[in-house]
């Protein structure tokens, strides 16, 4: 039998932790739904608030932990020296909101509820906040698992759902460019898409839809 590797041991840890991770994601999603219910009821017909949750899958968790090591490699001489508990996003909830004016409202409401969570916003190349991100623990259901929730403009979030698996975190089987240095044009396009989506939201707000009769 081949000797066990760090990856084997981390996979084993993953399945030991999985029941806890599931409890955390269910709890976090329920809390977020509860605390945003009043905003949801106030939404105008064209406004949207969608809550999505996910448990990080096993291979994604192993890869994510590996890439946190310098050189993206587990040290075989430190067998068993790695733990998935270092990952901040085994359990994750994403709150997609449109238009962006509502993003701030949802963000304020939730940050008032999750006061002990650390803010770790996703920034664009110029330092502007693209997504509000928070990391913390749901101590009511697990003292070990770190979770993450994000509140972000829906257009950016939906774009990332396509872009992230293809470009941002390519999987070995994907045909996406793995060499970021050679994907310069892709990076520029990505920035252009994000800018276009943000401009769309800004222009939309300028229309002052409140004054229009939207069915």
């Amino acid at each position: 039998m081949p000797p066990r590797t760090n990856e084997d041991m981390i996979r084993e840890e993953y399945f030991d932790l999985l029941p806890d991770v599931r409890r955390v994601v269910w709890y976090l999603e329920a809390e977020i739904r509860y605390h945003t219910r009043q905003i949801l009821q106030r939404l105008k017909p064209y406004e949207q608030l969608i809550i999505k949750s996910r448990v990080k899958d096993c291979e994604s968790a192993v890869r994510s932990l590996r890439r946190r090591q310098e050189g993206g490699t587990f040290d075989p001489e430190k067998l068993g020296g790695y733990s998935l508990l270092r990952l901040p996003d085994l359990a994750g909830v994403r709150v997609l909101v449109f238009p962006r004016g509502r993003v701030n409202e949802v963000n304020s409401e939730l940050s008032a509820q999750f006061v002990h969570w650390s803010s770790d916003p996703v920034l664009d190349g110029r330092g502007a906040v693209l997504a509000n991100k928070y990391i913390g623990k749901c101590l009511q259901v697990s003292t070990k698992i770190q979770a993450e929730y994000q509140v972000l403009p829906m257009l950016i979030g939906l774009y990332w759902e396509v872009e992230h698996p293809a470009i941002y975190k390519p999987v070995p089987a994907a045909k996406a460019p793995k060499d970021k240095a050679s994907s310069g044009p892709m990076e520029k396009l990505d920035a252009s898409v994000v800018e276009a989506l943000l401009n769309f939201e800004a222009e939309f707000e300028c229309l002052k839809l409140d004054e229009l009769e939207v069915p």
Binding site: R67, E70, G71, T73, D75, P76, E77, P177, K178, S182
Partner: protein, 76 residues
Amino acid sequence: MKKDVLLKADYRYNFDRDIYFNRKVKKAFSLEFVDDKPEEEILRRIGENTNGGGWTFYFNSPPSEGVKRELERVLG
């Protein structure tokens, strides 16, 4: 920019391992090393004579023999 210095010297970026590498001269820079060191040092390391035998890794924390073996396998 430090990234441009590396690209100009024919280094490519391995997105999975977060390293810049050049197979011809068998050198690899970790992203952490590139982030933390000044451009002058990167330039100096690029020009450093390593006799071209095995791979040379420029890391903040020197990689173990096991990590070197794994990266050499990946980099080919």
